[in-house]
C-alpha cells in the first residue's frame, strides 16, 4: 500500500536523476570527441561565402548529417519551460553538439576525398518529433550540414 505510493513517487524521480547523470556524462564525452576532431580537421577551411576568390578546383558536394535526441531529464526541463516560456536552455547544448557534429562529418567527408576547403556552407535543422501527441515535443532533431568542397590553391 505505502510501498506502492512510494514507488509511484520515487520512480519518476529516479528516472530523472538517472537521465541527468547519464545524459551529462554522454554529453561530456561527446564534447570531448568534438573538440578532438575539430582540432584534427582544423586544416579543412569552412567558409559560408559563395564566392571563393581564388582558384577553387575539383568541386564536389559534401554533406554531414546527424540525428540527436535530448534525454528524459532535459525533456522534462523543456516541458517546464513550456509553462514559463523563455529560453529553452536544456536543448541548447544538444543543438550545439548537433550542428558541430554535422559540420565535422561534412569536413571528414571533404578531407577523405582530398579537399582542403568547403564553401557555401548551409546548415539545416529539422525536428523529428511527433508533436501533438499530447506529450509535447520529443526533442529529437536532425542537423544537416552541406557545402561545396574543393581544392583551394594556397595564396602566396
Amino acid at each position: 500500500m505505502d510501498w506502492m505510493m512510494m514507488a509511484k513517487v520515487a520512480w519518476p524521480l529516479l528516472l530523472l536523476l538517472g537521465a541527468l547523470i547519464v545524459g551529462s556524462l554522454l554529453e561530456k564525452r561527446h564534447y570531448a570527441s568534438i573538440l578532438k576532431r575539430e582540432a584534427q580537421l582544423h586544416h579543412i577551411v569552412v567558409v559560408v561565402s559563395r564566392f571563393p576568390s581564388e582558384q577553387f578546383g575539383s568541386q564536389f558536394l559534401v554533406t554531414g548529417s546527424v540525428v540527436v535526441s535530448s534525454d528524459y531529464f532535459r525533456r522534462t526541463l523543456a516541458m517546464f519551460r513550456q509553462i514559463f516560456g523563455g529560453n529553452v536552455k536544456s536543448y541548447e547544448s544538444m543543438l550545439d553538439r548537433g550542428r558541430r557534429e554535422a559540420l565535422l562529418r561534412m569536413k571528414a567527408q571533404a578531407a577523405g576525398q582530398g579537399a582542403n576547403a568547403v564553401f557555401n556552407i548551409k546548415l539545416e535543422t529539422s525536428s523529428l518529433s511527433q508533436t501533438d501527441n499530447g506529450k509535447g515535443a520529443l526533442g529529437t532533431v536532425e542537423v544537416l550540414a552541406y557545402g561545396t568542397a574543393g581544392t583551394l590553391a594556397d595564396e602566396v
Binding site: S53, F80, S93
Partner: protein, 272 residues
C-alpha cells in the same frame, strides 16, 4: 584573400547555457510550488468565507439541482424528519433548513450534502441498535450542515477540479460524482461529533447513543480490516476509536451521563 578558421575558447561558447540544468529546474519548481500554494490559499480563503454569505435557504434553492444525482434512490420518512427537525431546532437552525431522506441502499453510510439534505442509508439504519444511535448519526450530519461543511467541501473540490482541468486538461466536473464521499478534516468531524454529544445529552439525558454509534463503526471498520496502522493525522476521517475517546472526554468535561440506550431503532429492518 586568405581563408582560414580560428579556434575559439569553448568556455565562451555563446550558443549553450553554462548554468547547471539542476539550478534551472530548481528555480522553475520553486516558482511552480509558490504559484500552486498561492492558488490553494486563494481557494481556501474563498471556501472559508463565501459559503457563510449564502443562507441555508438560498443554498437549498440554488444548489439542490446539483445534488439531484445523490438523491436518486431515496424515500421520505415522517418520523425521521421529525427527529431531524428536533435536532435542527436544538442547534438553533431556522425551520425547514434540513431535509432528511432514507436511501434504499445496503451501504453502511450516511452523508450530508449541500442544500441541507441528509441521506441515511438503509444499510446503516440496519446496523444501529437504538434510536439514540440513529439520532447521534443524524445530529452529526446536521452538525455538518450547520457548519456549512458540505457547501464548503463541494466548492473546494469543484474549484480545485476546475483549476486542475484548466491546467492539465479534462472536464472540470469529475468530482461531482463523488460528493457523497466528501471528506472533512478531523476538526470538522470532531465538531460534528460534539454537536451530536450535546444533542444526545439534552434530548435523552445521556450520551450513550453517540458511544453506541461509534462502537458500531469501530466494529465494522475492524471487520473490514481497514489499515489500522495508518496514523490518525494522515487520515482525514479520524478512526472510530479516536472519535470515541474524544467524545468520552467531552462528555466527562460537561459531566454528561453515559447509559445504555433504551429506545428501539424504529427504522431497522428485521434481520432474517
Amino acid at each position: 584573400m586568405k581563408f582560414e578558421n580560428h579556434r575559439f575558447d569553448e568556455r565562451l561558447n555563446p550558443n549553450i547555457a553554462h548554468e547547471h540544468p539542476l539550478k534551472e529546474l530548481g528555480r522553475m519548481v520553486m516558482w511552480l510550488a509558490a504559484a500552486g500554494l498561492a492558488i490553494l490559499l486563494a481557494v481556501e480563503l474563498l471556501v472559508r468565507t463565501l459559503p457563510y454569505t449564502v443562507s441555508l435557504q438560498n443554498e437549498s434553492r440554488w444548489f439542490s439541482p446539483l445534488a439531484a444525482p445523490l438523491l436518486a434512490d431515496i424515500r421520505e420518512d415522517a418520523g425521521m424528519q421529525a427527529l431531524a427537525d428536533k435536532i435542527a431546532a436544538s442547534m438553533q437552525m431556522p425551520q425547514g433548513s434540513v431535509t432528511v431522506h432514507i436511501g434504499n441502499d445496503e451501504m453502511v453510510n450516511a452523508f450530508a450534502t449541500f442544500g441541507g439534505h441528509v441521506v441515511m442509508m438503509q444499510g446503516l439504519l440496519d446496523v444501529l441498535p437504538s434510536e439514540e444511535a440513529v439520532a447521534a448519526v443524524l445530529a452529526h450530519e446536521i452538525g455538518h450542515i450547520r457548519a456549512r461543511d458540505p457547501l464548503r467541501g463541494v466548492s473546494r473540490s469543484l474549484l480545485l477540479d476546475i483549476i486542475g482541468s484548466a491546467v492539465l486538461g479534462g472536464d472540470g466536473f469529475s468530482s461531482l460524482g463523488y460528493l457523497e464521499n466528501l471528506r472533512y478534516s478531523r476538526d470538522l468531524e470532531e465538531a460534528a461529533d460534539a454537536g451530536a454529544v450535546r444533542f444526545s445529552a439534552a434530548e435523552y439525558g445521556h450520551t450513550g447513543g453517540v458511544v453506541e454509534m461509534l462502537e458500531v463503526l469501530a466494529e465494522l471498520s475492524a471487520q473490514q480490516q481497514m489499515p489500522a496502522h495508518t496514523p490518525d493525522w494522515l487520515s482525514t476521517h479520524p478512526r472510530p476509536q479516536a472519535r470515541l475517546a474524544a467524545v468520552r472526554k467531552l462528555a466527562r468535561q460537561a459531566a454528561y451521563a453515559e447509559h445504555k440506550p433504551a429506545r428501539p431503532n424504529r427504522w431497522q429492518r428485521p434481520s432474517e
